[in-house]
Symmetry: C2
Subunit: 502 residues, 2 copies
């Protein structure tokens, strides 16, 4: 066999399973649940889903698709357009799929990212029929070595009846050894997750399954989608400055050392700006315990600021990706990729004492956060790991610009239209205007601090007027219920939350 790739398929008996994507996709039938690799646009299966979409154009195939998180290479878009998705969990970030979800065509169940495989393992959601896992190679024992993400791949492969492996020949064999696959035992034999340090390894470097379950092996050369470069702007730079100043005060107050505590940061321009803010900061020997590593993590390595980074995936811009993977040995011993059940595990997050930095769509005067639903109704992406981190973090920070839509939307509102994170799980709110430190404050106090530190005019005055009226009604958390969403309605009807001159 010319294309045997003995270094990529090291268990000889599996060579016979090499096939093309269409043949592999034929294993998937209408109504099945498919568990697929892929987390924040990295490491998703790239061939079989497209072959499945092609089939779905011609015959009725509607599946439940479960992944780690969002997918690259337009896989969600292509499957949606082919009408192949009946149900989707636990996360997505694709505009076409999002629109189908919001039309009620695809049933979307967004989970705390640490919980999906727990629900599967305890049979509380429908079992996985077929898993499709991108791999760099299959070992001598038939174990699967993941590529740029681990996500839920390990548990999907373990729990599935059949497994399709997509071997990505564009991913270097050097990735072997990067992953740390740990799977908790079934109850009542469940033991502590033994992780006590960011750089500790507690599992194996590949996903061991019964090789007989590997029903098909497909090759691909396609790379992960490059992640868009999140350019900092004046606002994100200001947010970063406020946060760095806050961390400096915490060090001065003796609550943190210059090493801080392990950092988690979401994706996007704010996380990027904040992380880049550490380059010229007094902090050192930083560590990350996050879901995803972006360009900024590698910039911090290069700047000598970051000692170690743990996550569930790596997603880089085109340029950075070329650079990092061309000299991967320079980083490899300071990196580990874990299953998202471990990267996001409440137990580990609480134990390590993470500083969690996530973004918000809107926050309210009491510090409740909406991360997911535009106008309370339309799904943006999903809650993702933000809840795993915010609830259990040492310090839970939410960052957002104070405005959206050219100032017609205030992202600080009287009441959020959807709650993903309650006031109990939100310690710090930061906007370009400033930072509100809410620790130890009662709701009425939180409102004052948020309005005075995070909001610019005209919304500051408008919120003050709302608070004054709400306080007349009394309560622990005063509101004027019939006006709580007035701003949102005004935006929907008139295109702006600003007061209309009468």
């Amino acid at each position: 066999m010319l294309n045997a790739h003995h270094d990529r398929i090291r268990l000889p008996q599996l060579q016979a399973r090499i096939t093309d994507a269409a043949t592999a996709a034929a294993l998937i039938h209408d109504g099945m649940t498919v568990g697929m690799s892929g987390f924040t646009r990295s490491g998703e299966a790239k061939e079989v889903p497209l072959a499945l979409a092609a089939r779905a154009q011609k015959e009725r195939i509607k599946i439940t698709l479960m992944t780690g998180a969002s997918l690259g290479n337009d896989v969600d878009k292509i499957l949606t357009e082919a009408g192949a998705l009946a149900r989707r969990m636990p996360f997505q970030a694709d505009p076409v799929l999002r629109a189908a979800i919001n039309r009620g065509e695809v049933m979307y169940i967004d989970h705390h990212l640490s919980e999906t495989v727990e629900l599967l393992r305890t049979k509380q959601i429908a079992p996985i029929d077929v898993a499709i896992i991108e791999a760099v190679a299959i070992t001598e024992t038939g174990a699967i070595i993941p590529t740029t993400s681990v996500g839920n791949s390990a548990s999907y492969a373990i729990l599935a009846d059949q497994v399709i492996v997509e071997i990505n020949l564009s991913q270097a064999l050097e990735l072997e050894g990067l992953h740390d696959v740990f799977i908790p035992k079934h109850r009542p034999s469940r033991e502590p997750v033994p992780l006590v340090a960011v750089d500790q390894r507690i599992g194996s470097t590949a996903i061991q399954i019964d090789p007989d379950k590997i029903a098909a092996i497909v090759f691909t050369h396609k790379l992960d989608s490059a992640s868009p470069i999140a350019q900092p702007d004046e606002d994100t730079a200001a947010i970063a400055r406020h946060l760095i100043a806050f961390f400096e005060e915490e060090v001065n107050a003796g609550r943190l050392t210059k090493q801080l505590l392990p950092l988690q940061a979401g994706i996007g321009s704010i996380a990027n700006a904040v992380m880049m803010g550490f380059v010229d900061s007094p902090f050192e020997k930083l560590t990350m315990y996050s879901e995803v590593l972006q360009d900024c993590a590698f910039d911090l390595f290069d700047a000598g600021k970051l000692d170690f980074a743990s996550a569930s995936s790596i997603t880089l811009s085109e340029e950075k990706g070329k650079d990092v993977f061309s000299r991967f040995a320079a980083y490899k011993d300071r990196l580990v990729l874990r299953p998202q059940e471990v990267s996001n595990h409440p137990e580990v997050i609480r134990r390590l004492g993470i500083i969690a930095i996530n973004a918000a769509l809107e926050v309210d005067i009491y510090g409740n956060v909406n991360s997911t639903h535009v106008q309370g109704t339309h799904m943006m992406n999903g809650i993702g790991g933000s809840g795993d981190f915010a609830r259990n973090a040492y310090l839970s920070i939410f960052a957002t610009k104070s405005l959206a839509k050219g100032g017609d939307v205030s992202r600080i509102v009287p009441m959020v239209t959807h709650v993903d994170h309650t006031e109990h799980d939100v310690d710090i709110i930061v906007t370009e205007v400033g930072l509100a430190d809410l620790r130890g404050l009662a709701p009425r106090e939180r409102a004052q601090v948020i309005v005075n530190h995070c909001v610019a005019e005209p919304y500051r005055s408008m919120l003050k007027a709302y608070i004054a009226d709400a306080n007349q009604r009394g309560g622990q958390t005063p509101h004027v219920l019939e006006r709580a969403f007035e701003w949102h309605t005004r935006y929907r009807v008139h295109g702006s939350m600003k007061k209309i001159e009468e």
Copy 2:
């Protein structure tokens, strides 16, 4: 010394610290933070707080009072009426204090009950000046043996500058050995909480502190307040029936065994009815891993249904209390009381796979739960441990009657006016009407199941009409924002959520 009580104060040097409540209370000054024992009306300090209240009647003393949870013996009421409370955390359930909180007079910060001492330990909230801990005795090494609750007592005593001990002579020395005091280490040396079984002991039986910190010892004879007997009625009996039937189905489906998984149950009539429903059920060898043990736990022991119960406190009715404590040896080896940081620890709850049963003020069509704020504004009690359990449980159940106020309030509403638990943390909703199993469902599906299974007329039709209108607007979680709280406004203005005939 006549009243030396050598069995109660076993470290001789501490005999000299015996004093009266007024003298002990004089250690507390205006502006101080006081950490006190007491959890769900049991084991609170009973003498010094009253002496403090007496002083506050005459001089300005306003303190921050931190406890485990709610207090008995009207301590919160008396301190509130004396104007002694500036700030209060992390939980309360007193009508007088509640009213002061809702008037904005006392700043109330309700916490996830597992988190309070974590915030203290990391100095993120103001430190404890004086701790007041009820005890059965002080050991040879100066360690404090708690009474009927552990709550936050251990960490408060460890972190306080000075400790006042109230030795309760009405509590039998037999309580010694009941408690299991485990304190996590400071980060970065934090290790796993080693608890892997409900009946495991991982700590010490008393709270070891530097005996020199014990600044005063006071005696009391006062008992805990008897807890009101939560009488079952037709509705709570129906709720219990629905839940028992659900558990039977889970066993039949092979997801649970007849032993189920460790049970957590809140306080009140619903929890009581559900737990009593197990007496004549096919389940056996049950265990509890809860915050608080009520009468029903001991009834289940007596019925031979319950094998072991772990909690942070015991709170019994007058009759049951007399019975249980008169023959405590019969129960002691099947009981353990832990710090609430351990009883409610996310790590342990997730590991053990708890079945969590909590009550709700209102739930909405998508399964978001309001446990705390009447009409979204007025504090009832606090979030307590419901979030610790609901988020991390194997199965998160919320139980509520479908109606309140003689039918003028529907407890299933279009949108909850305050969110304590998001849809992600709510698996089952049960009312007297029926049970909604929400696992694996998307929001639009959840709405159908909740409305069809949990709501009676006229609210069922009203909710169906709301959903139809909301679906016109589209979205993952459809709403008509300007009408989302219409029912609440109607209740406030007209005294009923029911439609008014035009």
